[in-house]
Amino acid sequence: MDLTLSDEQKLLRESAERFVAGSYNADHRRKMANDPLGFSPAVWKQFAELGWLALPIPEEFDGLGGGPVEIAILMEAFGRGLVSEPYLATVVLGAALIDRCGSTAQKQASLPKVADGTLKLAFAHSERTARFDLARVTTSATKTAQGWRLAGGKIAVLDGHAADEIIVSATLHDHHGPSGRIGLFVVPATVQGLAISDYARLGGGRACNLELSDVHLPDDALLGDGHDALPAIEWAVDRAMAALGAEAVGIMQTLLETTLDYTKIRKQFGRPLSANQVIRHRLADMAMQVDEARSMALRAALKADSPPTERARTASGAKAKIGKCARFVGEQSIQLHGGMGVTEELEVGAYFKRLVAFDTLFGGSAHHYARHAELGRKA
């Protein structure tokens, strides 16, 4: 039992923190918020040069073979600066799904390009009628003589507008009708029949909705051999939630420090806000919740490769708990900044909005406490 960082992990943390502190400031974030792409291609290139895009990719596909703890270290640093590059979509979700489900040829075609920064991915799974149920997919993939025909719609696709290839989930149909299995298809962003409508995402970055009307794909667009992809989807989403949890910890830490500094400087009734016990106790509660969130993010990362039920319970528990802490820390940061906290003139609001987006992504606290409870009964 050892929860201390290795020397390599410490180096990774230092370089990520240094990079974010140096490259991410308020001006940069404001520019990105109004940018049609929502992130900087130059920064993405630097991510590649720093080896971060290769981090979790296996060494045989030009990656560095890192795991969920390394991803968490990076994501926490990203949270400190509200990084808006499509790291989660491309590396944590996209590359992981190809690595888990793809054939050797499919992996060889994509993973080295993700690692060197020339291929961006996205994962299109959520649908309006499914809410947060990962098993409900109405988008269909019908076998044709030449390959597959996809039809349906997807929502809340993170960074789909920037992706070169989008991994789309669809229920597999053969000539008997729906098979009950979900397949994952690698869909080129430029394919005919795919309509992408993108929008600014709450808290930075962009997302999009997809319409697929008779999108024709070759046989090898299907990742793997047609086994049901639901277990892989659950695995990937659990890992993404762990990564997002670490990012949320970084966001909360920045909010805590910013708010603490403000309460020391801001004077009311002739003394700093922090001289009031009610303020000190609020900040103590915020510090405590940041620390609890930190513990849960670490737990989710360390158990990301556990057997499915244990992994899923841990991921859901962490998502629910960190989400609850995030809402509290975010809302109290605004409260303690007073009127200024509600304006766009300070950045507290931007950090808060990213936390709200975090809490909503892949399901909020109520959903994940319920999933945690249900998995507990099955266990």
Partner: protein, 398 residues
């Protein structure tokens, strides 16, 4: 980073399991499960202490030269966790975990030779004389006074919330030996034989129906000066040292997990009409379980820091605060889970020696008393408000 134990640690784990299987009797287990106060009664608690001592495990935190087993932090974690899982008696901590470390740290050679073996063997049973009716969280405002008279002190005053004073043969107390500039000055740390003339003990019943705490009165009580630990007037320093032990023992999650398991077992039982089928109850159980997961991870992070010689920082207040809040959440959930059975009051103690059939099933008897008595968790050892002050000061610098 690795959450799993290594081969050596796993071997130690099976050694602990073997010890527990051999020494924990059904009687001890049942008595512990049916005790709604913090500590087991001495007959149960000391039986377990004697078994531990016979195996060289009587004082896990002590240095080897005084009889400690020289465990690593991970071994202590494993020991505490296995004990909680098995439901071993809750030995009163006043001896081994509280006065013991102070005597080791600041006592004279004579005091060490006399008291330490008697703590280990369970021959002495200790209580703590800290709080007074006028000083709760503001402990250093205490007024019990010790006036020098030759080789003795003459003590007058009163102590309150004294856990197991009615069982104890010894008390360690903070008393005022002079008035300094600051109210922390002039306090001395003194060891008192409870059979000394002039000491009377008044029981205090807590709202759960248990007699665990007392008020103790001192009326011209003569105590030898040789019973003072360390220097006169330095007692506050020693007392604070001990409070850090009280707050930061740092291994609470395993006990909370067992407490929650008892409640969720009830929720899944026909005795409660399967309370768990209510989505609200099921989600709340999950919420508390996840809070315990978070506390456990924080404990393990502290443990890892200790193992590698790092200072974990002011996190002991966070551990104390979260432990007490989660404990209250578990007991609150318990009351909601048992439903109608929360109405039945069983006034007799101990609950494991009732001479009649209780109104509720046995596994429910401690639920309401634990909830009621458990309100004290956020009060004793420094209230939650005091802990938040400490977090703000030590962690945030405000």
């Amino acid at each position: 980073m690795d959450l799993n134990f290594n081969a050596e640690e796993r071997a130690f784990q099976s050694e602990v399991r073997g010890f527990i299987a051999k020494n924990l009797t059904e009687e001890m287990k049942r008595a512990t499960a049916l005790t709604p106060s913090v500590f087991s009664d001495p007959d149960i608690g000391m039986a377990w202490q004697r078994a531990l001592h016979a195996n060289g495990w009587g004082a896990p935190g002590w240095p080897v030269e005084h009889g400690g087993p020289a465990w690593t932090p991970a071994q202590r974690w494993i020991f505490e966790t296995e004990c909680a899982r098995a439901g071993v008696p809750n030995v009163n901590v006043m001896g081994v975990k509280m006065v013991g470390p102070v005597i080791i740290g600041f006592g004279s050679p004579e005091q060490k030779n006399f008291y330490l073996p008697r703590i280990l063997s369970g021959e002495d049973y200790w209580c703590q004389g800290y709080s007074e009716p006028g000083s709760g969280s503001d402990l250093s405002s205490l007024k019990t006074r010790a006036v020098r008279d030759g080789d003795d002190y003459i003590i007058n005053g009163t102590k309150i919330w004294t856990t197991h004073a009615h069982h104890a043969n010894r008390m360690f107390a903070l008393v005022r030996t002079s008035d300094g500039e600051r109210q922390q000055d002039g306090i001395s740390f003194i060891l008192i034989d409870m059979k000394t003339p002039g000491i009377t003990t008044r029981p205090i019943l807590t709202i759960g129906g248990d007699h665990e705490v007392n008020q103790v009165f001192f009326d011209d009580v003569r105590v030898p000066v040789a019973n003072r630990v360390g220097d006169e007037g330095k007692g506050w320093t020693y007392g604070k040292y001990l409070l850090e032990f009280e707050r930061g023992s740092g291994i609470a999650s395993a006990k909370l997990r067992e407490g929650l398991k008892a409640i969720s077992d009830l929720a899944e039982s026909d005795l409660t009409g399967r309370a768990i089928d209510s989505p609200d109850i099921a989600s709340r159980i999950s919420e508390v379980e996840v809070d315990i997961d978070a506390l456990e991870m924080t404990e393990l992070r502290v443990l890892s820091a200790l193992q590698t010689g790092q200072n974990p920082g002011a996190v002991s207040s966070i551990l104390k605060l979260r432990n007490s809040e989660i404990r209250q959440a578990v007991t609150r959930l318990g009351v909601d889970v048992i439903g109608h059975d929360a109405l039945a009051v069983e006034p007799m103690r101990p609950l494991y020696k009732l001479n009649h059939e209780p109104a509720s099933p046995e596994e429910m008897l401690t639920v309401v008393p634990e909830y009621l008595n458990g309100r004290a968790y956020t009060i004793f050892g420094g209230t939650s408000e005091i802990q938040r002050d400490i977090i703000a000061k030590m962690m945030l610098g405000i």
